[in-house]
Amino acid sequence: MKKKLSLLFGAIVLVAAGLLTFQSCTKDFEEINTDPYRPQNIPVGEEFKQVLQNIYAYSPAWITQLQQNLIADVYSGYMTPPTPFRGNSNNMTYDLVDGWNEWPWHVAYGSVMSPLRRMEANAGTNYPEFNAWAKICRVEAMHRLSDIYGPIIYSQYGVLTPGGGVEYDCQEKAYQLFFEDLDAAVAALTPLKDDVNAKANFAKFDLVYNGDITKWIQFANSLHLRLAIRVSRVAPAVAKVEGEKAMSQSVGLMTDNSGDFLVTSADGTTHPLNVMDNAWNDIRMAAPMESILTGYADPRLAKYFVPSVIVPGAYKGIRQGIAIASKSDYEGFSALADPDKVQLMTAAEVYFLRAEAALLGWTGAGGTPQSLYEQGVQTSFTQHGAGSAAAYLASTAPAAAYVDPVNAANNAGPASAVVPKWDDAAATAVKWEQIITQKWIAVYPDGQEAWSEYRRTGFPRLYKVLVNNSAGKIDTDKGIKRINFPAPEYSTNKAEVTRAVQCLGGADNGGTALWWDVD
């Protein structure tokens, strides 16, 4: 009996020991519940690669197609698809496709804001250069988003309201925050611009300037000027203060093509426009590009597009918003000359911004409107290897009439009346149109910036749509003004998106003008 009891006691001890052994092992749970096939110990700053490849999405190409190509690249007058998506009732004919148009939003929050926030949480205060860099990237990405929708989630990102929603910033507020963030970033980076460690930290993840902090500051200042010019009609006083500030920063602006903001792919992915253009045959030159560039005999034409198949040897663009029965009708129009890196800002654009600043009489533009305009054209020529712009700048050849070889109903005379040659005696409005028209040519293929400037200025003059399926929401003469808020916002964030519509000041559709878009 005694032996049995001791055995029993032993057994209880064994069970108890088993329990203790097992339970003490729950300390391994965190290791077990960490996926070993995900990247481990991400270096702080790795996130910049994802961010830089998603301000304009590098891949997959279908995301880029929905983020920008079937929206701004078309509305800017740069490109038009030959494809009659959805029976030709789609963004091109102003029947805005919600399933497409939520993608700029998804990319901005999922692939820019989210990684930047994680990076900031990981970095803490150890890497002030990263925090500053994040601000610049964020402003560049989010002003583009705001220029699509208007109000956006910016200052309250990641902060849930008691109702589980996230509050928007009205566009005016968002722009104010952009200026503040750029100020803070430039103030933080300026003392570090020659700091070896900071540069080395940048270089690991920098797909644009290879760690050259000076260039990042110059980009931030140039972006600051772009945003100031953007609000110059709706808020002239603020714009002047911000614009002059941007032009007086010690590190200065982008001045030559070595400062162009060109994003390299981290893994050799080709520019997604090539996929849409060549693999899918889903994008072609647009009619305004044909009209203006052929009329001007612009040497950049051959750098941007290839001659068409449909009229061999000639450049043919497709007019937006026309009746297209079959993709094969328009597939043979001019394809794109394969772009290389993703271009988000160029020195040429900055000269045009300065030209407009000079025209507005702002201090610090550093030249006359004419000299800055001509430097802008020459800088763009240089960027594209088009040689000297001297002859071009003396040309008074106007834009050409547009002829659709498939359907004469789409034919139209030249929409634009300005010429390359600057006439200092011309009216300010003509000069303004010349500056914007040349900027439009130079900014190609970044339809997002071109569409924003088109809405702000009305330049270059583009062709109106002939098929308008917006059910009265978008005025054919005024053209599309914005994209309605993504449908998921109404299912997940209804109270806040409803408030955002209030500050939009009009219905949530493509006909309501943004804050800075005043007539």
């Binding site: 049995k4 055995l7 029993l8 057994a11 064994l14 069970v15 088993g18 329990l19 097992f22 339970q23 092992c25 729950t26 391994d28 749970f29 965190e30 077990i32 519940n33 960490t34 996926d35 070993p36 096939y37 995900r38 990247p39 481990q40 991400i42 790795e46 996130e47 690669k49 994802q50 490849q53 590098y58 891949s59 939003w105 998804h106 929050y109 999922g110 692939s111 804001m113 989210s114 990684p115 926030r117 994680r118 989630i153 309250q156 990102y157 990641g158 849930l160 589980g164 996230v166 928007y168 792919s265 981290a266 893994d267 992915t269 998921p488 916002e489 299912s491 997940t492 964030n493 806040e496």
Partner: protein, 1022 residues
């Protein structure tokens, strides 16, 4: 002995390898042998299958068809214990005699013993929850390569759906209704050890792709299907949470306990079983061959014509051969069971083949005067499948086969003509009608898109049990289950461009799963007083599951060289080469159970379990506790009940918790091309996830009467599963696009009834019959207000017309899609007669309203006949197949409509005026049919009633077998499955489901036709 084997050999039934194996086995002879006959004391009829055991040993035998037994005993003065269901157990002292005939009295007490949680044997009458046992002989009556399929119709409370992948495919088994957003399959427990029933590659969409990344979907077979059916002694279905509370989290969906055979002392025998069945296709779609396609069109909407039926000759007669040998033997201290089974099958779809080998060795031994016992099992399974059937639109030979434009000759595209030489690429490329991703040349798919899968599985358990006192023992058990799966698909150059690149496509998936389980149990069992006995079990367990996967797919960048299928031929960047570990989880538990029995009339069970789940690491708590309590009262012991032999009522309440998915609480950066990517799903700031919880209540009654020849088992239950893991879309401004939350309340309530009856029992004839009835009502009481439109999507139809959703107020897993537009109960059509699609709406639920199974065994002397009829009644299912066939003008329905001058539907125009005349067939079916048409037109009543199994067996009399040896028994049966469909309202067999996961239920997307099988089964024991 060798002589006997030779005779068996001459019968030319068995394959040579089996014989070689048994040649090495020589049965052993014991000194003491006792024999006799067990009969009914009242009628004198022999009792077949009665148990005869020697007390104090593990020696035992069962009686044969004549009630005779033969048993080796340890001593001439041994005491035998003879028992039989429905009879009083009797003890017989041998007192030196070599024969003992035993007469049993029909008993009033029910002493059936069933195996319950943790392998603890209990008297069935003491159970406070529903449990149903199915014996080996029942399971093997009409053998299925996946033994779980044999449970169909035999138990109440189970819904069993087979995948469409043919022999060796996975099976979905849902007990008492679907309750979880994650997994609803039951847990299998083999000899006390939970089995990880992993089934890789299950399709997730109508295309037949797996996951969201365009991976090639398939059915790799589940783990339970790997078991040799002959190794199984019995299966016990433990229903509901109470029965399962001790198995913890994994048991929330119910448990099927599998008890395998082991060697028996003194019972040395060799059992052969050889099973051959031949299968023919039934319920293949009804097609038309009387209307041709217009020139150069894919759709057969042209003029009348007459094409030969090229489909009927496509399917083969399938054949499945299952041969097995089992050797058992041993003495008092060591017993051995060894088995080998070989399964080889050719499917009805040409080139589809499966072969499987199972080897099992089980050793049981006793030491220290029987105080220490050891149990060791080793299992090895090798399985290989070629071109196993796939469902879905992609890589499926049946799409092109059924849809080929009429008027063309299939012979021009088959045989040597499925490919033709292309002078540009210098390769043989596909020769087919037109390029569509949803149809290719069927023979191209079979020969130039072949897939191969293989599995090697090692499974081993070691258990040691030490008897501490006569009322206490301790048991330690460990198990390792390692499975290696490999899948390859080789798509040759010439495969359609959506499915493969110009040089072809190589898909490879290597999977390894490792499951480690260990437990320690302390069992105490003591009579506290003469009236009160108590059993206490305390234990702890650990279960660790790890799955590694390497997936490589050349789709996108493609292959460097055409038709070379190796990883180094895959171009980069952009190919999907993914190493992942989709599931590493660890569960640690402590548990206890206390059972009290008072005077064999009152029983009380209390259990408690605490789990620690690794999936809840990083959460505020990784621990959760759940209890159960149950009671049963044997009324027949308390009161004298006239005409009632046994009556019991029972009640139980239980909770079962469940963790979340691995890594939910800790979602890391992902690898995309070009650098790590921040996750967009996870937990919202300030939130936490916790375990799911199922609470269930059940009441039951068990009554036996008519001298135990009739019995009724009734159960009512209700289960509420709350705190489910749900993924909701959140404002992207929150930092995530989707968040994991706990929410929901899904209720299942139902009734299970089992009536068993022996209407005839006489010397020569015995008829036993059993009816199983199940009804389950499911309701989504609460989901979460955070869901878009209150809908949680299980299968996202995308551009197709089938979605499967959970929606508040409806039942779990509704089929959702486009409806017609109605006005005054008539469908609305355009002025041209084209039906207008309405909004997306809930259209039906595939779960049946109720199921009935009727199982009969009739024995006439040496003959026995088994008849199993079962039916599912109600529920709605959907056929994408029919929709696509209609759209293409390939179905019989479209020809009938054309013959009739249109579709005769009462329709109105949008303004309410009636549409006059019939609707033009082409316009109607073009609008309604297709994978993106009007779903509502393809919803069918899921009712199906069938003769599921029929078997006629003959046990050869001793006079015949005595020439082979005195212990030889020989049995021959003719078997059939799915012989008659009495009713089947859908154009496919609703038993077959496209996938065995939670989604894609109740839908047919070009699954291979169901099969009717006939066969012969030979069993030889000596």
């Amino acid at each position: 002995m060798k002589h006997k084997i030779k005779q068996a050999l001459h019968s030319r039934i068995y394959k040579i390898p089996l014989l070689l194996l048994c040649m090495v086995f020589v049965g052993h002879i014991s000194a003491q042998t006792v024999s006799g006959k067990v009969t009914d004391a009242g009628t004198g009829d022999p009792l077949i299958g009665a148990s005869v055991r020697e007390d104090g040993t593990s020696n035992g035998a069962t009686t044969d068809a004549n009630g005779a037994y033969r048993l080796n005993v340890s001593s001439a003065n041994a005491t035998l214990s003879v028992s039989y269901t429905g009879y009083q157990t009797k003890s017989v002292s041998l007192a030196g005699s070599a024969t003992a005939d035993v007469m049993l009295e029909a008993g009033t007490a029910l002493n059936e013993v069933v195996v319950t949680a943790l392998g603890i044997s209990r008297e069935k009458k003491s159970l406070s929850y529903g449990a149903q046992e199915v014996s080996s002989s029942e399971l093997n009556r009409v053998k299925d390569a996946n033994v779980i399929n044999s449970l169909s119709g035999r138990t109440a409370g189970l819904q069993i759906n087979r995948s469409g992948s043919g022999v060796g495919g996975s099976t979905r088994v849902v007990m008492r209704g679907q309750k979880s957003t994650r997994d609803n399959n039951v847990l299998y427990v083999v000899d006390g050890v939970p089995m990880f029933n992993y089934s890789p590659g299950q399709p997730g969409d109508i295309w037949g792709q797996s996951g969201n990344s365009g991976n090639v979907g398939r059915d790799g077979g589940d783990a339970i299907s790997n078991i040799n059916p002959e190794d199984i002694e019995s299966m016990t279905v433990l229903k509901g949470a109470s029965a399962a509370a001790l198995y913890g989290s994994q048991a929330a969906n119910g448990v099927i306990l599998v008890t395998t055979k082991k060697g028996k002392a003194g019972d040395s025998k060799i059992e052969f079983s050889s099973n051959a069945t031949w299968e023919t296709a039934v319920m293949s779609p009804e097609l038309q061959f009387g209307y041709n396609a217009r020139p150069n069109e894919n759709f057969s909407w042209g003029a009348k014509g007459s094409s030969p039926d090229h489909v009927k000759d496509f399917f083969n007669t399938g054949a499945t051969y299952i041969n097995s040998i089992g050797l058992t033997g041993g003495n008092k201290t060591a017993q051995t069971y060894f088995s080998y089974a070989n399964t080889s099958s050719k499917g009805i779809v040409p080139t589809s083949e499966l072969s499987r080998h199972n080897v099992t060795l089980r050793e049981t031994a006793e030491f220290l005067d029987g105080r220490l016992s050891l149990n060791a099992t080793l299992n090895y399974t090798n399985q290989r499948g070629d071109n196993r059937n796939v469902s879905g639109m992609y890589f499926n030979p049946l799409t092109g086969l059924y849809l080929m434009p009429r008027g063309l000759r299939y012979a021009d595209y088959s045989g040597a003509n499925f490919e033709k030489y292309d002078d540009v690429s210098k390769l043989y490329l596909q020769n087919w009608v037109g390029s569509r991703d949803d149809w290719q040349n069927p023979e191209w798919i079979l020969n130039r898109n072949p897939n191969f899968d293989s599995r090697n599985r090692f499974y081993g358990t070691v258990g040691v049990s030490l008897k501490l006192t006569d009322w206490a023992n301790i048991q330690v058990r460990g198990n390792m289950d390692k499975t290696f799966d490999r899948f390859e698909q080789h798509s040759f150059a010439g495969t359609e461009a959506t499915l493969a690149d110009a040089n072809g496509r190589f898909v490879m998936n290597d999977l390894k799963s490792t499951v480690r389980y260990g437990d320690i149990l302390l069992n105490l069992k003591k009579d506290l007083t003469s009236d009160l006995n108590a059993a206490l079990t305390l234990g702890t367990s650990i279960n660790d599951i790890k799955v590694n996967s390497l997936y490589a797919d050349s789709k996108g960048p493609g292959l460097y060289y055409a038709n070379t299928f190796v990883i180094q031929n895959i171009k980069q960047p952009g190919a999907n080469i993914t190493q992942s570990q989709p599931n590493r989880t660890q569960l640690q538990s402590v548990f206890g159970s206390l059972s009290l029995g008072y005077k064999s009339m009152l029983y009380l069970d209390v259990t408690g379990r605490n789990d620690w789940s690794s999936t809840l690491a990083f959460s505020s708590s990784n621990s959760f506790f759940y209890p159960s309590v149950g009671a049963s009262v044997i009324l027949s012991e308390m009161f004298a009940m006239k005409g009632i032999d046994f009556a019991k009522v029972r009640a139980s309440y239980a909770q079962v918790g469940n963790g979340v998915n691995a890594y939910d609480t800790n979602i890391q950066y992902a690898f995309p091309a070009g650098g790590a990517q921040a996750p967009t799903t996870g937990l919202l700031p300030g939130t936490d996830v916790q375990n799911e919880l199922s609470k269930s209540l059940e009441f039951g009654a068990d009554v036996r009467f008519w001298s135990n020849r009739a019995g009724l088992d009734l159960t009512w239950y209700q289960t509420n599963t709350t705190n489910q893991r749900i993924v909701v879309a959140v404002p992207e401004g929150s930092g995530l696009s989707t968040a994991i939350i706990n929410a929901g309340d899904i209720q299942n309530s139902g009734i299970e009834a089992s009536l068993s009856l022996t209407p005839v029992r006489s010397r020569n004839v015995e008829w036993t019959t059993q009816v199983n009835f199940t009804t389950n009502k499911n309701k989504v009481i609460e989901l979460t207000p955070l869901l878009n439109n209150g809908v949680y999507t299980l299968t996202d139809g995308g551009v197709n017309n089938y979605d499967m959703v959970i929606r508040k107020g409806y039942a779990f897993g509704e089929i959702s899609g486009k409806g017609f537009t109605y006005l005054n109960d008539k469908i609305v059509v355009s002025p041209e007669g084209v039906p207008l699609a309405g909004a997306d709406t809930v259209l039906g639920n595939p779960a049946p309203d109720f199921t009935l199974g009727w199982n009969n065994t009739v024995r006439f002397g040496d003959f026995s006949v088994g008849v199993l009829i079962d039916g599912r009644f109600g529920g709605e299912v959907m056929s994408v197949t029919q929709a696509v066939l209609d759209r293409f003008g390939a179905s019989r329905a479209t020809a009938d409509a054309r013959d009739a001058g249109g579709v005769d539907v009462a329709a109105v125009l949008a303004d309410g005026t009636p549409f006059s005349g019939k609707l033009d067939a082409e316009k109607y079916y073009t609008a309604v049919g297709g994978r993106d048409g009007i779903t509502e037109a393809y919803i069918y009543d899921g009712t199906s009633i069938r003769l599921r199994e029929l078997s006629v067996g003959y046990a050869f009399p001793k006079s015949f077998t005595s020439g082979m040896g005195k212990n030889v028994s020989l049995r021959l049966s003719l078997v059939g499955r799915n012989l008659i469909y009495f009713v089947n309202k859908a154009p496919f067999d609703p038993d077959i489901s496209m996938a065995t996961g939670t989604g894609l239920q109740g839908v047919d997307v070009f699954s291979a036709p169901s099969v009717r099988s006939f066969g012969v089964n030979v069993g030889l024991t000596f």
